[in-house]
Symmetry: C3
Subunit: 348 residues, 3 copies
């Protein structure tokens, strides 16, 4: 990728200030930009870097007034931040614009594959799989029998989807994620051993969901584990069987949700949060990192923290006192001593 300042200005409908033929071949932050890099300045806080940067081209707001000479070629636009975001997306689209079917692969003859797919080498597509248009299946993915994929689905390398699972449109799943593994269901026997409870449900992932690397989502015992429209899940997250995650909920890395729990819409779970099974969490609930939710949450839009989780403000206040606990105990010791003296004196 190599563009002149003039080309970029044309794409962004901007105007060039400086050498229009200078070339940029990668994107960089303004404070890190070197020769050949294209950067932007939106936040006035960073204006100082404009006068020292080694970036070749910098996108700036039309309204910016220079206070010193600038080495880089400037491209002036209405909104430097949104113009740059546009370029970011453009850049990524080019990088991820794989197409074609690589060899070797395993595609069952009964599988139905939509238009313009990318199917990477060593990918496995099982019996009766259906796949919409513009799907990108990176190398080493596994799509089991009877799985359904919508349009514009991207599975990064090594994603595994067990049989019968359903994935909507525009879903992105990162490397190593496992969709549809057995729920953790075992019935105890009198002799201390366990008998497996067959897990015959599936996982349903609705449209516009993104799932992080090495995350695991178990299939339902019966029925479906649901990840609703617009949900965003980070890396190494565990979603147990029969969980139902409401629309536009966001779950940070290493959080875990136990079986049959139902999260409302627009919930936010911080990193390493745990949620017990068989409860419901009201829409808009926010849970701080490392907290443990042990009871249902019925009030919408509140913030929780701690393990077990209590209201965020109560937890903050308690934490402060916890750090002073040894001192508090000493004060109680002292009080008891004084009281004893007072009482003894009283007696005499």
């Amino acid at each position: 990728m190599q563009f002149t300042a003039k080309d970029i200005a044309f794409m962004l409908n901007g105007t060039v200030e400086g050498d229009p033929l200078v070339e940029a071949n990668h994107l960089a932050k303004i404070e890190e930009g070197g020769n050949g890099s294209l950067s932007f300045l939106a936040n006035p806080k960073y204006e100082q870097y404009l006068y020292t940067t080694n970036a070749s081209v910098v996108i700036v707001n039309n309204s910016l007034q220079l206070t010193s000479p600038v080495k880089a070629t400037l491209i002036r636009v209405e909104n430097a931040y949104s113009s740059f975001t546009l370029l970011l997306e453009q850049y990524n689209t080019i990088k991820l614009n794989k197409s074609g079917v690589e060899e070797p692969h395993f595609i069952h003859k009964s599988a139905k594959i939509g238009a313009t797919p990318y199917i990477g080498a060593f990918s496995y597509i099982g019996q009766d799989v259906t796949m919409g248009d513009n799907c990108k299946i990176y190398p080493g993915c596994y799509i089991a029998d009877n799985v359904k994929l919508g349009n514009n689905v991207t599975l990064f390398p090594g994603v595994k989807v067990y049989f019968d699972c359903i994935i909507g449109d525009n879903v992105v799943i990162h490397s190593g994620a496992v969709i549809g593994s057995d729920g953790f269901g075992f019935a105890p026997n009198p002799d201390g051993t366990y008998t497996k409870v067959a897990q015959i449900g599936n996982v349903v992932i609705e449209d516009d969901v993104e799932i992080g690397a090495n995350t695991t989502i178990d299939r339902a015992t019966m029925g479906s584990t649901y990840v609703r429209k617009g949900v965003k899940i980070d890396n190494l997250v565990q979603i147990a069987h029969n969980v139902d995650i409401g629309q536009n909920t966001v779950i940070a890395a290493q959080a875990g949700i136990a079986g049959s729990t139902k999260l409302g819409e627009n919930v936010m779970l911080g990193g390493q949060v745990g949620v017990v099974g068989h409860i419901t969490i009201a829409r808009g609930t926010q849970v701080q990192a490392q907290s443990g939710v042990s009871r249902k949450i019925t009030e919408e839009g509140k913030r929780w923290a701690g393990s077990p989780a209590i209201s965020y403000t109560a937890d903050m206040r308690s934490n402060v006192v916890v750090s002073r606990l040894p001192e508090l105990e000493k004060r109680v010791n002292e009080l008891e001593k004084i009281i004893k003296e007072l009482k003894d004196r009283d007696v005499h």
Copy 2:
């Protein structure tokens, strides 16, 4: 899969009530059952759904007395729950009944493979591997040199087993799990760098073990990391080098056990539990989710909670007071003020 009510009644030794020719092609919960679904009613609590369900066929107890008309065809059996469980297993057996050897694969000529295997495409079976009968190696698995697998082992897609590891009969390992990766052993040097300690042991997984998706079990530095008979491990669990997990122990998702720790039989660890290294945990110990076990547990069959873990009941009691800590501190402030007044008055 498509069966008539009559077929199902025959399999379960039950009697048909309603149209014996109605067909079912999938299993569903009674409250979710639609056209073509087969369901069951065991718990009287759910009886209401029997009169409203759209399921085509419902298995019920012989003893059930109807209080309203029912649209579905009923199959009456001695025990509806156990009959349905039987069907679940049957269903799963059919779904998972893969066989044959798919192309391409890599099987070292020295590998010994038992009768009726399934070996999925892109699977790798190394030098001197031995594998019992009826093993199912799903696509993209990696079995390193000198690994031994028993009979009826199932490795779901993308399981990796490092060299020299030993896996018993009837073991099930889910996608992305890693068995036998190097233990985390590094010796510090005076200059702040670390030198790796070679990890030359292996992992031994005994019979009837199930291991969840993306779980990691490290090989021993020397000797073996043991997962004993009947152990059940959930997803994303970390088992460090030289750990020994006792028979029929159950470990929930995202728990972690540090090096050389020995768990007794029938231990239960909740989700996200951490256990420090080099300790022993008595048989029958139960640890609540998110707890951290920092010392050995010698008394059998007790329940623990908190980080660091204390007895479950003590932790419950402490948690209650923690949430009232700011108030407790205020009460101590108040007491000190009163005492000061009393003492001052005393002096005068």
Copy 3:
């Protein structure tokens, strides 16, 4: 591998005591050593086992004075521990000494591969990849377009490296680890949905780094996520976008570091630790297992514990009082009662 006591003594520059022709074919701890095993005795605490072991050959210090007869053949050396360590490494080198290029594989014609590689079956090497000498790419690895690998890099089975990432010399990455997946960046919209922020940076892993199984390291939004020289990372760890991990830092299993946080050199994070985003952690900081670091740490070389983390000693002291909290509350109740009595009496 099969050596006589005489052979081993020759390798270690030691002297044989007993049958020089006895053979050993594997390594074992002295307390577990059986027929054919080679063991060592360095710690006097274990001397008792020397007289009962079934190991065929035992390496001991020159200085050791026997107090009973010994069945095994002894090899006397200056330092039994370091001699044994030498053998461990030798053993591992032989075990891991794979070479050659296995079929089938996918290597883009533009990829540049150094001398004496091992490339396992089902490995994928993308466009413009460059790879140094003596790299070992185990089966089923994925190396995306434009990735650069140094010399002596080992990627165990199923490692995935996304495009543009850079990996230094002598790096070891264990099975299932994902390098360069998208950072978790989504901008909220007024209607509750999220728009993905393109993640166009990369991951840079410097020399002498080891990364555990199923660990995930996200690419930077822009610029790079850095794992500096000599860092050791355990299994199932999450490193978010734009994190920078200082030289020789050690991170135990299941820890997680949120976006843009910068760890100094020689930091140690215990298992399941969480660190919030956008902070710096001073060099030499040590954080206890399961702790949560919620604020920047500026003082070097201190130890922290708890969630939120406070100084280690303060946390230890607080934990003790937490377990006595119900009792403390009772004592305050009692004090209030007495005070009330005293005041009442005072009034009359």
